[in-house]
């Protein structure tokens, strides 16, 4: 199933403020939140 993930991003080296970034990822029925983050990280 397709999941829309809004992740709060912050990198003080490039931008002093925090912002939300949206990703669309494919998740299986047994996936955990950590799996979504790892998928985002790898792609």
């Amino acid at each position: 199933m397709k999941i829309t993930v809004h992740v709060q991003r912050y990198n003080p080296e490039t931008d002093p403020s925090e912002q939300m970034q949206t990703y669309t990822v494919e998740a299986g029925s047994t996936d955990r939140i950590l799996d979504l983050l790892l998928t985002i990280k790898r792609t």
Partner: protein, 174 residues
Amino acid sequence: MRINGRERLACKTLVKDVIREDSTEITLEPLRHLPVQRDLMVDPKDFFEKYRLVSPFLIAKNAAPEKGEYQQSQEERRAFDDPTKCILCGACYSACPVLDTNSLFIGPAASIQAARFTKDSRDQGLAPRMNAIDNPNGVWGCENHFECTRVCPREIKVTKAINETKRAISKYKE
């Protein structure tokens, strides 16, 4: 981290448990009350400083037995069965509304560690920890919002333990 606004463990929380039929959106944010270092990562320094404040280790009442280990009845061991489950994940610290306005409050996790050791029959209990917990920023800072109890992934009855510690302090001072 906060998953759809609520403190949960990303390594344990299933995607299917946080999405609804009408919405497949998930919002991920870092824990509150701690400075964000990068993305979802916070600096846990304050959290662990407050944790260490309550001396979260056994301060033995009696000299170590010559042979073997300290003896404890099943009932004595059961007394701290609940608070000893804490994994120091910081969920309660983030959820606690008291920390919104009082950043000096030691927080639920440190309070639960104090309860863990003051309930231990082998420990000196409250005496060595009074300085850290018997003050407005210690356990008395708790206002019974029960948010810590609601978010604890180990299902520790945090607020109940804090209230028991408050009662124990009052009794101790009589």
